[in-house]
C-alpha cells in the first residue's frame, strides 16, 4: 500500500491490470469452518483513492497495510478515514518487518519500541476520527435541542461533558492482544499474530493461553524461575515478553541465515520441526533460505487470513447503523423515509437468500474489459482433465516437432495460472454455490465490440439471478417520488410503469464471478457476494443501485477522498480523428469513477482528473484502449474579461496622483494621443465623437464602469434578459402575438427594481429606463444606454409607442448601433476578450439631417460638438445621389424599406450606411474604453485546502507564489486539521494541485471550484511616470505587472501584435549565420 516512490508507481501503472481493484476469490479453511473471502486489492496512491472508495463501499471489512519502516503516511490517514466513513471494520497488517532486521539493523528491543510507536500513531488517528465524530454528533444534538426548546432545559445547561466520556471507544483501537494486528514480512513469506505464539508458549512454559494473550504485547516480562509474568520495571532493563519470546527468535533465525551458520540453521529447523528441501538449503542466496524456513514456520497467508476470518464481519453482521447511513443521502433522517423503504432495512440485515427477499445490488463502478476476455467469447478449457488432455496433446505435438501449435497452447495455461490454482479447489470442496453454476458457455456473441463494460457490484440482499428484471436507480432517484406517482400495491409489469426520473428498468444479462482478470459466468449469485454484471453500460454511468423493488432509495454517493482537480485540454493529433476522441472520452468517463470530462465553449475537450498520476493513467487508457489515437495534451485556455475602472487616486507608490513631478522623458504618455487617429474627438470626460466614413452620421459614446453589484445582477439574470430581448424584438417587428407570461413579467419588474436600487446617484439618474441593450450576445453583463433626446428606445417591454415615420427610421438604423455595441462587447481592445461590467452611453445620435438632403452644411456638425451634443451630421454626399432619388435597391442591411422619398441611395464607395454604422459604433466603443483606465479581469477559483498544522506554512508559500489570497483559516473541531479558504486565479492553477501535494508531502489536499471574476488591480499599460515610481520600479517596470503578463500571453496566443522587442539588446545578438 505504501509505495516508496512515485517513479515506481508510474512504472507499475504501465500495466493497467496491476492497478485496478482486482477481485480475487479465495477459499479458506479456518478451523472447522470454510470461508469465502472476496479480496479486493486497491492502490494506495492518493490519486487513486477513488478506487479505494469504490472498493470500500462493497466490502465489510478492510485490511490496512502499513510499512514497518515508514510508519503512518498520508495515504494511511486517507485510507483509515475512508474506512471510517463507510463504517467498515479495519484490521491492521504491519508489513516489511524484515527491513527492520536487515536494513535498519534494529535490535529486537528497538524494533519493539518502533512497532509500538507505529501502533500508537495509528490509534491516535483512529482516536481523532472517533472524537470528531462524537463531537459532530453532539453538535447535531445541540442544534436539535435548540430547535425543540420544549426538551428538558435542565439537562442542557448542566451537560458540560463533551460526550467523549460516555462513549466507549476501546473496541476501535488496534492492538495485538485484541487480535486485530498481525506482523508480517510478505517478501519472506512470514507473518504472525500473537495468538499463534500464545498457543505455542502456553504449552511450553505452562502459562495459561489467556494470560499470555493479554501480556505478550505490552510492557510485561516473564520471571522464568517463578513462572510468573510481571509488569516491567524499566530500570531493571528487563525485556518485554514480545521481545523475549517472539522477536528474538526471529532475529536469531535471520542472524543465522545471513551469517550462513549452517549448524545453527539446522538446529533451528529441526527444533521447529520443519523440513527444508535440499535445494533451498543449499541455495547461496540467504533470502531463499529464509523464505523456505519462514513460510513453513509462520506462513503469512495463515496469519492474515485467520485474522480476517475471526475479526472481520460477515455480510450477515452488517450493522444497523451502516445500513441507515447507506440509505439516507445527505442530511436526510432515516425516519423520514417512506415506510416501504424503512421495511427494506430488515432485508439488509437479514441478507436472506430466499426468493421473497428483495434483491438489492450496489454497482460501485464500471470497468472496461476487452470483449475477447469475456467468457462467452472465448471457448477455453476449464476442467482440470481438459487441461491435462491439452497438455498431453501439446506434449505429443511437441514431440512431433509441431512447434507452432505447441507454443499457442502452452501460453494459455500460464496466462491464467492463478485461476487454475484456485478453481479446482473451489469445485472439489464445493463449499459455495458458485461451484455448480460455473459451467462455461462458449456462446460466441455476434456483436463485436472492442470494449465491454462490466459493473463491479455486490449483492446486499436477495439472490441475483440471470435475466431477472431490476430497477436501476440513479444517484438522484427518490423513492418518495415514485410512490407518489405509482399507486400503492401496483401490480403492473415493470415495462408499463410511468416514467420516473433517474430510474430505468433492465434485466441482468450476464453475471460473472471475478477472478483476477478472469471472468467466470454464473447463473445466480447469493447475497453478500461480489460479482460482475455485464450489459449494464447503457443504464449505469458510474455507479448505481439495482433493486427489485422501486421503493429502495439509492445508496449515498461514494465518498471520494480526492476530487478531480487537475485540468488539461485534450486534442487529437490529427484533426480528423475528433469523433474517435469523443467516443473514447465517453468510455473513459464510464470506466473511471473519478474523472470528469467537459466540452467548453471554446471547443476544448477538458479532462479533469484527481492528480498527475491519475491523469497519466487516464491518458494512457485513452491512447491505448478507448480512443486508440494519438492525442496531445495542453494547458487549457484561460478566459479573461476586460473592463474599466474609476481613475485611481494614488499611483503605484501610493503617492497622490497629480502632485508629483512627471519625469522620465522616455516615458511620457506619448501614446495616449497617438493611439487615437484624427477625426475622432475626445472630450476631457471621456466622451468620444466619431463620424462614419462617409461623414453622414456622427455618434458620441461614453464608457462608464458599472458598480460591482450591478454586474453581478446582470450575470445572474442572463436568461431573463434573453427572454426580454426576444420579446422586445418581436414587438419591434410589430407582431404582438407573443404575450409575456405573468410570472416572467413579475420577474422582469423585480430585476428592473434591483437595477434601479443599485444604480443610484446623479450619474445614473433615470438610466435604467434608458437601457437599450445588453451585450455581448444580447444577454451579457454590459449595458448600452440611449440618452439621445429625440429617439427613445428601451429594452423594457411596455406599451408600444406609436411609431411615426421618423422613429421607424431611427429604429431600423438603431439595429446597426446595437450590432456595433454587441461586437464591441464581444471583443475588447486589450486582448479581444469579452467585456464585463461596462456601460456605454450613447450621448447623442441624430439623423435629422438625413431627411434634409439639400442641407449640406458642415457647420451643423461643429455646432453640435461644441454644444457637447453631437447632432447627426447630415452631409449630403454627392449631388448625383440627389437626383437619383427613389432608388429601389438600397442595399441596407437592417433597414426596413418603407420606400420613402427621404431615403435615397445610402450606398457609396464606403458600402451601405448600416454597415458603416456598425463599424463606427464599434470603433467608438473601443476608443471610449481606451480613454478610461482599462483593467483585465481574471477568473478566480475558490480553493478549500485541508491541511495539518505542521504543513500550514508550506501551503501558504505555494498559495502566495501563485498569487492566491487566503480568505480564512479555521481549525476543524476535534482534529488537528486546518481548513483554509483561499482564492486563486485560474491562470495560475495549472499544476497547483501537484505542487501543493509535493510541497506538503500529500498532507494537504486542495479543491478548486470556479467562483467569480475579479479585477486585477494592476494596469496592463502602466509605465512609471513619477520620480518615485521610476526609483521604485526602474526604467522598464515590467517585472511584476501581472495584468500585462496575462494580456501579452493572450495576445501572443491569438496572433495579435504584442509590444515586445524581438531582440532586447541590439549589440548582443548572434549575428553569424550558421554556415560561416
Amino acid at each position: 500500500m505504501v509505495l516508496s516512490s512515485l517513479d515506481k508507481m508510474i512504472q507499475l501503472q504501465r500495466n493497467t491490470a496491476n492497478i485496478r481493484n482486482i477481485c480475487v476469490l479465495a477459499h479458506v479453511d479456518h478451523g472447522s469452518e470454510e470461508y469465502l473471502i472476496n479480496l479486493i486489492d486497491s492502490p494506495g496512491h492518493v490519486d487513486f483513492s477513488s478506487e479505494v472508495s469504490t472498493a470500500v463501499r462493497i466490502c465489510d471489512g478492510c485490511i490496512i497495510v502499513v510499512d514497518a519502516v515508514e510508519g503512518v503516511c498520508p495515504q494511511t490517514q486517507a485510507v483509515l478515514r475512508q474506512a471510517w466513513l463507510e463504517n467498515i471494520r479495519p484490521v491492521l497488517v504491519i508489513n516489511k518487518l524484515d527491513r527492520l532486521i536487515v536494513e535498519l539493523k534494529f535490535t529486537p528491543q528497538e524494533a519493539y519500541s518502533h512497532l509500538k510507536n507505529i501502533l500508537e500513531q495509528i490509534n491516535a488517528l483512529t482516536g481523532t476520527l472517533f472524537t470528531s465524530k462524537v463531537l459532530e454528533e453532539r453538535a447535531e444534538r445541540d442544534t436539535d435541542c435548540q430547535v425543540n426548546p420544549s426538551s428538558e432545559q435542565g439537562e442542557q445547561v448542566y451537560d458540560w461533558s463533551s460526550g467523549l466520556e460516555n462513549t466507549d471507544d476501546s473496541h476501535l483501537y488496534f492492538s495485538p492482544d485484541q487480535g486485530n494486528v498481525v506482523f508480517t514480512s510478505a517478501i519472506d513469506g512470514w507473518g504472525f499474530g500473537i495468538e499463534h505464539f500464545a498457543k505455542i508458549y502456553s504449552q511450553k512454559i505452562g502459562i495459561k493461553k489467556e494470560v499470555l494473550l493479554k501480556t505478550l504485547w505490552g510492557d510485561y516480562y516473564i520471571n522464568m524461575k517463578a513462572k510468573k509474568i510481571m509488569k516491567v520495571d524499566q530500570a531493571k532493563g528487563k525485556k518485554p515478553l514480545f521481545v523475549q519470546l517472539i522477536l528474538e527468535n526471529i532475529w536469531s533465525l535471520y542472524d543465522a541465515v545471513l551469517k550462513k551458520d549452517k549448524e545453527k540453521i539446522d538446529k533451528i529447523v529441526t527444533s521447529l520441526g520443519l523440513k527444508i528441501g535440499a535445494r533451498e538449503a543449499r541455495h547461496s542466496d540467504p533470502k531463499v533460505q529464509i523464505n523456505a524456513i519462514c513460510s513453513q514456520w509462520l506462513p503469512i497467508s495463515h496469519a492474515v487470513l485467520a485474522m480476517v476470518c475471526q475479526k472481520l464481519p460477515s455480510p450477515l453482521d452488517i450493522t444497523a447503523e451502516r445500513v441507515e447511513r447507506l440509505m439516507c443521502a445527505g442530511s436526510q433522517m432515516f425516519d423520514s423515509l417512506p415506510p416501504e423503504t424503512q421495511a427494506l432495512k430488515a432485508a439488509f440485515m437479514n441478507c436472506g437468500s430466499e426468493d421473497t427477499a428483495p434483491v438489492i445490488i450496489f454497482v460501485s463502478k464500471m470497468f472496461a474489459v476487452d470483449a475477447k476476455a469475456l467468457p462467452q467469447n472465448k471457448p477455453r478449457p476449464l476442467t482440470q482433465e481438459e487441461i491435462a488432455q491439452r497438455r498431453e496433446r501439446a506434449r505429443q505435438r511437441h514431440a512431433e516437432k509441431l512447434m507452432v501449435a505447441a507454443v499457442q497452447v502452452a501460453v494459455e495455461p500460464t496466462q491464467d495460472g492463478s485461476a487454475l490454482e484456485t478453481k479446482p479447489k473451489v469445485e472439489s470442496r464445493g463449499g459455495e454455490q458458485q461451484a455448480e453454476s460455473m459451467a462455461p458457455k462458449a456462446v460466441p456473441e455476434g456483436e463485436n465490440k472492442e470494449e465491454c463494460f462490466i459493473a463491479f457490484a455486490r449483492v446486499f440482499s436477495g439472490v441475483a439471478q440471470r435475466g431477472k428484471k431490476m430497477f436501476v436507480l440513479g444517484p438522484k432517484y427518490s423513492p418518495v417520488e415514485f410512490l407518489n406517482r405509482v399507486p400503492l400495491g401496483f401490480s403492473t409489469p415493470a415495462d408499463e410503469l410511468p416514467p420516473v426520473p433517474h430510474m430505468a428498468c433492465c434485466a441482468l444479462e450476464n453475471l460473472y464471478l471475478l477472478m483476477g482478470r478472469e471472468l467466470e459466468e454464473l447463473e445466480e449469485v447469493p447475497p453478500g457476494n461480489v460479482l460482475g454484471i455485464g450489459g449494464l453500460q447503457d443504464f449505469v454511468l458510474k455507479s448505481a443501485t439495482l433493486c427489485s423493488s422501486p421503493s429502495c432509495p439509492p445508496f449515498i454517493p461514494l465518498n471520494f477522498e480526492a476530487t478531480p482537480i487537475v485540468r488539461v485540454a485534450v486534442e487529437p493529433k490529427h484533426p480528423s480523428e475528433m469523433p474517435q476522441l469523443v467516443k473514447g472520452m465517453k468510455l473513459l468517463n464510464q470506466a473511471d469513477p473519478c474523472v470528469q470530462i467537459l466540452i467548453q465553449e471554446t471547443g476544448e475537450h477538458v479532462l479533469v482528473t484527481a492528480g498527475e498520476v491519475h491523469l497519466q493513467r487516464c491518458l494512457d487508457d485513452l491512447k491505448e484502449r478507448f480512443a486508440k489515437i494519438q492525442i496531445s495534451v495542453s494547458e487549457p485556455i484561460i478566459p479573461f474579461r476586460e473592463t474599466i475602472t474609476k481613475p485611481p487616486k494614488v499611483d503605484m507608490v501610493n503617492e497622490e496622483i497629480g502632485k508629483q513631478q512627471k519625469v522620465a522623458v522616455i516615458h511620457q504618455t506619448k501614446e495616449d494621443q497617438s493611439k487615437i487617429p484624427e477625426g475622432i474627438q475626445v472630450d476631457p470626460d471621456g466622451q468620444i465623437t466619431i463620424s462614419t466614413p462617409n461623414k453622414l452620421a456622427t455618434l458620441s459614446v461614453r464608457a462608464m464602469p458599472l458598480p460591482e453589484e450591478v454586474t453581478q445582477i446582470l450575470e445572474e439574470n442572463s436568461d431573463l434578459i434573453r427572454s426580454i430581448e426576444q420579446f422586445t424584438s418581436s414587438l419591434n417587428e410589430g407582431r404582438n402575438t407573443q404575450v409575456i407570461h405573468q410570472k416572467t413579467q413579475e420577474k422582469i419588474w423585480e430585476f428592473k427594481g434591483k437595477l434601479e436600487q443599485h444604480l443610484t446617484g446623479r450619474k445614473w439618474r433615470n438610466i435604467v429606463d434608458q437601457i437599450w441593450s445588453f451585450g455581448p450576445r444580447k444577454c451579457g453583463p454590459n449595458i448600452l444606454v440611449n440618452k439621445s433626446e429625440d429617439f427613445q428606445n428601451s429594452v423594457w417591454p411596455g406599451p408600444v409607442s406609436k411609431a411615426s415615420k421618423e422613429t421607424t427610421k431611427y429604429r431600423d438604423l438603431g439595429n446597426s448601433i446595437v450590432s456595433g455595441f454587441q461586437l464591441a462587447t464581444l471583443s475588447g481592445p486589450m486582448c479581444e476578450e469579452p467585456l464585463m461590467g461596462v456601460c456605454f452611453v450613447l450621448e447623442k445620435w441624430d439623423l435629422s439631417k438625413f431627411d434634409d438632403q439639400g442641407g449640406s452644411d458642415k457647420q451643423n456638425q461643429e455646432q453640435s460638438i461644441l454644444g457637447k451634443e453631437v447632432q447627426k451630421a447630415g452631409e449630403k454626399h454627392s449631388s448625383g445621389a440627389e437626383s437619383q432619388e427613389l432608388q429601389d435597391g438600397c442595399p441596407e442591411r437592417f433597414e426596413k424599406h418603407t420606400a420613402q422619398k427621404g431615403e435615397t441611395s445610402l450606398s457609396d464607395c464606403y458600402g451601405p450606411l448600416s454597415g458603416q454604422l456598425i463599424a463606427t459604433m464599434k470603433e467608438a466603443c473601443r476608443y471610449a474604453l481606451h480613454v478610461k483606465p482599462q483593467r483585465l479581469m481574471a477568473a478566480m477559483y475558490t480553493c478549500d485546502i485541508m491541511a495539518t498544522g505542521d504543513v500550514l506554512g508550506r501551503v501558504y508559500a505555494v498559495l502566495s507564489k501563485r498569487e492566491g489570497r487566503v480568505l480564512q483559516e479555521e481549525m476543524k473541531e476535534g482534529t488537528d486539521m486546518f481548513i483554509i479558504k483561499a482564492v486563486l486565479p485560474v491562470a495560475e492553477s495549472f499544476g497547483f494541485a501537484d505542487e501543493i501535494r509535493k510541497r506538503t508531502s500529500g498532507l494537504a489536499s486542495p479543491q478548486l471550484v470556479f467562483s467569480h471574476w475579479e479585477i486585477i488591480p494592476s494596469d496592463p499599460f502602466w509605465v512609471p511616470t513619477t520620480e518615485e515610481e521610476y526609483l521604485h520600479f526602474g526604467e522598464k517596470a515590467d517585472s511584476e505587472n501581472q495584468a500585462r503578463k496575462y494580456m501579452n500571453a493572450v495576445r501572443k496566443r491569438k496572433g495579435l501584435c504584442v509590444e515586445e522587442k524581438i531582440v532586447e539588446h541590439a549589440e548582443k545578438q548572434r549575428t553569424l549565420s550558421k554556415n560561416k
Binding site: 486534442e571 465553449e601 442591411r893 424599406h897 495579435l1056 509590444e1059
Partner: protein, 250 residues
C-alpha cells in the same frame, strides 16, 4: 597574396541597411538587425539601440559617408540624427530574419484564430480550438503570404481544410419577412442559398427563419431588396450559430 583572403575581408555583421532616395541621391544608414521594425512600430524607443552610428552614408558596406552639401540639398538640414530618424521612418528596410519570422508566425496565428472563430465542427456545432486549427494548417502545409491580409487567407484556409477534416463555416441565422405576393416566388430563388429552414410562417406576411452560409449574405440581401422593391426585410438573428456554454460529457 590575394586581396580577398579571409583575414582582410571585412564582413558586415549585425548590420541592416535602410536606404532612401532623395534629390536623385541615395542615402543609407547602418542599423542593427531586427531592430528597425521595432522602431517603426514604436516598441523600441531608444535610438541608440537601433542605429549603429548616427552618420549618414552613401554606401554603408564601403563606408562612404554622405557629403554635407548633399544632405543639406536633400533634407534641408545637416543634423545627422534628424536625417537618420527621417530615413528610419520613411526609407526602405531590409526585413531581418527574426523580424520576418515573428511576422509570419504572428500572421499564422492570426489566421488560425480567425478560422477557429468562424468555423465549427458541423457534427457538434462546437468550434475547433486554435491549436487544432494550427496543427491542421501545418498538416496541409499552408504557407503564409506576407502581402495578403489575414482575413483573406483565412477564407482560403477554410476551403483547403474542408478536404481534410470536418469543418464548416458557422451558419448565420436570418429572418426574412416577405410580402405574401412575392414571397413564394422569392423563396424558390432563395432556396439554393439557404442551408436550413428552421421555421416558416405564412401569416399576413411570409416569415422565414433560416441558417445560411455567411458568404451568401450579400447575395441574399441584394436579392430581397431587388425583388420585393424594399418591402421585404431581413434581420440577422445570430451572427454565428454555435453551441454555447460548457457541457459535461456523460
Amino acid at each position: 597574396m590575394s586581396i580577398f583572403t579571409p583575414t582582410n575581408q571585412i564582413r558586415l555583421t549585425n548590420v541592416a541597411v535602410v536606404r532612401m532616395k532623395r534629390a536623385g541621391k541615395r542615402f543609407e544608414i547602418a542599423c542593427y538587425k531586427n531592430k528597425v521594425v521595432g522602431w517603426r512600430s514604436g516598441v523600441e524607443k531608444d535610438l541608440d539601440e537601433v542605429l549603429q552610428t548616427h552618420s549618414v552614408f552613401v554606401n554603408v558596406s564601403k563606408g562612404q559617408v554622405a557629403k554635407k552639401e548633399d544632405l543639406v540639398s536633400a533634407f534641408g538640414t545637416d543634423d545627422q540624427t534628424e536625417i537618420c530618424k527621417q530615413i528610419l521612418t520613411k526609407g526602405e528596410v531590409q526585413v531581418s530574419d527574426k523580424e520576418r519570422h515573428t511576422q509570419l508566425e504572428q500572421m499564422f496565428r492570426d489566421i488560425a484564430t480567425i478560422v477557429a472563430d468562424k468555423c465549427v465542427n458541423p457534427e457538434t456545432k462546437r468550434p475547433y480550438t486554435v491549436i487544432l486549427i494550427e496543427r491542421a494548417m501545418k498538416d496541409i502545409h499552408y504557407s503564409v503570404k506576407a502581402n495578403k491580409s489575414t482575413k483573406q487567407q483565412a477564407l482560403e484556409v477554410i476551403k483547403q481544410l474542408k478536404a481534410n477534416m470536418k469543418i464548416e463555416r458557422a451558419h448565420m441565422r436570418l429572418r426574412f419577412v416577405l410580402p405574401v405576393g412575392e414571397g413564394k416566388k422569392l423563396k424558390e430563388k432563395l432556396k439554393p442559398l439557404i442551408k436550413v429552414i428552421e421555421t416558416e410562417d405564412y401569416g399576413q406576411q411570409l416569415e422565414i427563419v433560416c441558417l445560411i452560409d455567411p458568404g451568401c449574405f450579400r447575395e441574399i440581401d441584394e436579392m430581397i431588396k431587388k425583388e420585393t422593391k424594399g418591402k421585404g426585410t431581413l434581420e440577422v438573428l445570430n451572427l454565428k450559430d454555435v453551441e454555447e456554454g460548457d457541457e459535461t460529457l456523460e
